[in-house]
């Protein structure tokens, strides 16, 4: 197997570290489903099928320097940039200690100032103008940062996405738009959402590059991100990256995708699973073994176990917290 990572400036350790984040994302997500089915978690939205894209994307960002507006599916992004399974589980179980929202928001509504992760909401697409605004602030200050903002292909139909991209283009802002195209907005398939093959084709209409990449391949996403980051830091403006992915699970724990997706389609995509493929690549280039994999899984599961335990034992907010933080205190 050809070594594709060296050319991207990734050494073997980095490669393994990327794989570790992908596997962590997958295992943590799977655990969330288990907790949901056990009745311990009211709601979850899944990242399965998006891990390669997310870890590849976040790998190109500088933790604590660059800014992130990840969307609800971006578990892999926030884990790669530095949030922990514990952070995720505290939110999943809506505990007081949840660093995202103190248990106020649904899980996967990220927010974490220490890593410049700006708070996100549920209404999709609203984060895109925020990303442009953050980048504009940085431009006013002369700061050398990059802003990452992501969304699904369904969200690309929203006016805010259009408005935000256009503004970023006008001011050549250092924003990277990552559209994770999993072909469905809940049940609505791509052909009912748009008449084009690629969301990335819209970038030309704003005046910046639009790139399509295989979102099941973290190296492809990383390569596209790296280029976009460099472009942004050179002051040349935004890039829209469209990563073709597939959601391997229902939309959320409240969804049942059997009404709208043929099982064969799901099975077909499972065979192309990015996590498994990346493991094969690692083994192919000789930096990974089945034993190492087992060992890693054990370690990650132990970490997740500990985080679950911690989060379950953590305290709920006080009822009186309801009244706090409506305005500055």
């Amino acid at each position: 197997m050809d070594n594709r990572h060296a050319a991207l400036g990734l050494n073997d350790d980095a490669l393994v570290a990327m794989y570790e984040k992908m596997l962590l994302t997958r295992l943590l997500d799977e655990r969330a489903w288990v907790l949901n089915r056990l009745g311990k978690v009211h709601f979850l939205v899944s990242a399965q099928g998006h891990e390669a894209c997310q870890v590849g994307a976040a790998w190109a960002l500088r933790p604590g320097v660059d800014w992130l507006l990840p969307y609800y599916r971006d578990l892999g992004v926030i884990l790669t940039i530095g949030m922990t399974p514990r952070d995720y589980l505290l939110a999943l179980l809506a505990k007081a200690e949840d660093p995202n929202s103190g248990g106020r928001q649904m899980p996967s509504h990220w927010s974490y100032p220490p890593l410049n992760i700006f708070t996100g909401s549920s209404p999709v697409g609203t984060q895109v103008p925020h990303a442009a605004g953050i980048a504009y602030g940085a431009k006013l200050r002369g700061d050398d940062i990059v802003v990452y903002v992501s969304f699904g292909e369904g969200t690309a139909s929203q006016g805010d996405v259009h408005e935000g991209m256009n503004f970023a283009a006008v001011h050549k802002l250092p924003v990277i738009f990552l559209c994770q195209n999993n072909r469905y907005a809940i049940s609505v398939p791509q052909q009912k959402q748009m008449a084009v093959e690629n969301v990335a084709d819209r970038a030309a209409g704003y005046g910046f590059p639009g790139v399509v990449v295989d979102g099941m391949d973290p190296l492809a996403v990383y390569a596209a991100m790296q280029e976009a980051v460099e472009r942004a830091r050179r002051g040349e403006g935004p890039t829209l990256i469209e990563a073709k992915v597939y959601r391997l699970t229902p939309h959320s724990s409240d969804d049942d995708d059997r009404t709208y997706r043929p099982r064969e389609e799901v099975e077909e995509w499972k065979r192309r699973d990015g996590v498994a493929r990346f493991k094969e690549y690692l083994m192919g280039v000789g930096v990974w073994t089945e034993e190492a994999d087992q060992e890693l899984r054990r370690r990650l599961l132990a970490e997740i176990d500990a985080a679950v335990e911690y989060a379950q034992a953590a305290a709920d907010p006080e009822p009186s917290d309801l009244l706090r933080h409506v305005y500055a205190e």
């Binding site: 007081a96 928001q105 909401s121 809940i186 049940s187 609505v188 917290d321 409506v326």
Partner: protein, 328 residues
């Protein structure tokens, strides 16, 4: 009579109206094969096809804008906003367009659209799947706002909304969808928009409410009657715009005591207008200050169960408020 859930009654109304009138069609996110995220439109696509059960792109302003255009062309669109919390991107289309089309064209054009939206909390929906948004619209002339509490009302009022020549916002309480059941006649009926309903007669105090809180009030009233012989008259507004002043004032003049209750937060809620109407038109009938029972002015509502519970109105709160008011 059959017993139906609120959700079934709404679905029945949609199906009957679509059968009755070819011009009626539904549009929204996931309304087609998925049957809506709450399953309200389940089965419709099989009977009416994807053109009349239209899965739209994910864009609420578009959904309402397309409905307005289709209505101008003579259709009777029923738009679904997946959660009321996501109606805000469409506020320009609703407030500046739909509501004003008749007025600005001097009556030459109309806007017969219905916008259905599931609202309300107590369902672990957190800040963006729990909101009550009715008060954001009750200041807007040209709109009608309906928020039924029972399957019977929901069916009859949704049919009226679809036949109404003006834009109607139709809010469906999520918690009521499957938990509230009631009798619904087999035969066709339509209920008038703009009329409140006295859900329980009583002489000691008037309780004015709507939506899921109707059920909290009725339960509290029943207990209060049993425990203390206090008879509360419970008025279900049903239509929030225009408000049925007559029913309110008649009751207030009779009882002299008023509790206004809603799940929506207090400041600037529907209850403010109801209180103002009474203070203007029936002040000297009052034997006690008006009381508004509503959640505090915080964002409805946190995900954590304890915080959610701290937000949601309860039967106990209503019981206590009614009792205190009767004793005042």
């Amino acid at each position: 009579m059959a017993t139906k859930t609120l959700l079934e009654a709404i679905r029945d109304a949609l199906i009957e109206e679509m059968r009755r009138d070819e011009r009626v069609f539904v549009l929204g996110e996931d309304v087609g094969r998925r049957g809506g995220v709450f399953r309200v439109t389940q089965g419709l696509i099989d009977e009416f096809g994807p053109a009349r059960v239209l899965d739209t792109p994910l864009a609420e302003s578009l959904i309402v804008g397309v409905a307005i255009g289709a209505a101008a062309y003579g259709m009777r669109p029923v738009a679904e906003i997946q959660f009321a919390d996501f109606i805000h991107p469409a506020m320009d289309q609703i407030i500046n367009e739909a509501a004003k089309i008749r007025y600005r064209s001097n009556g030459a054009w109309g806007c017969p659209i219905v916008i259905r939206a599931p609202y309300g909390g107590g369902v672990h929906g957190a800040l963006y799947h729990s909101q009550s948004v009715e008060a954001l619209f009750h200041h807007v002339p040209g709109l009608k706002i309906v928020a039924p509490a029972t399957p019977y009302d929901a069916k009859g009022l949704l049919k009226a909304a679809i036949r109404d020549p003006d834009p109607v916002l139709f809010f469906e309480h999520k918690k009521a969808y499957r938990s509230i059941r009631g009798e619904v006649p087999e035969e066709e009926y339509v209920l008038p928009i703009g009329k409140a309903d006295v859900k329980r007669p009583g002489e000691h105090l008037t309780v004015i409410t709507y939506g899921y809180n109707v059920h909290l009030c009725l339960e509290a009233a029943a207990r209060l009657s049993r425990d203390e012989g206090i008879e509360a008259e419970v008025i279900d507004l049903r239509t929030l715009l225009p408000i049925d002043k007559e029913t309110i004032l008649t009751s207030v003049r009779k009882t002299g005591r008023v509790l206004i209750s809603h799940e929506d937060t207090k400041t600037g809620g529907i209850g403010a207008e109801v209180a103002a109407i009474i203070a203007e038109e029936a002040l000297f009938y009052l034997d006690a200050p008006i009381v508004r029972l509503a959640p505090p002015d915080v964002h409805a509502m946190p995900f954590n169960g304890r915080l959610e519970a701290a937000f949601m109105p309860t039967v106990e709160q209503h019981y206590a408020a009614m009792r205190d008011l009767a004793r005042f």
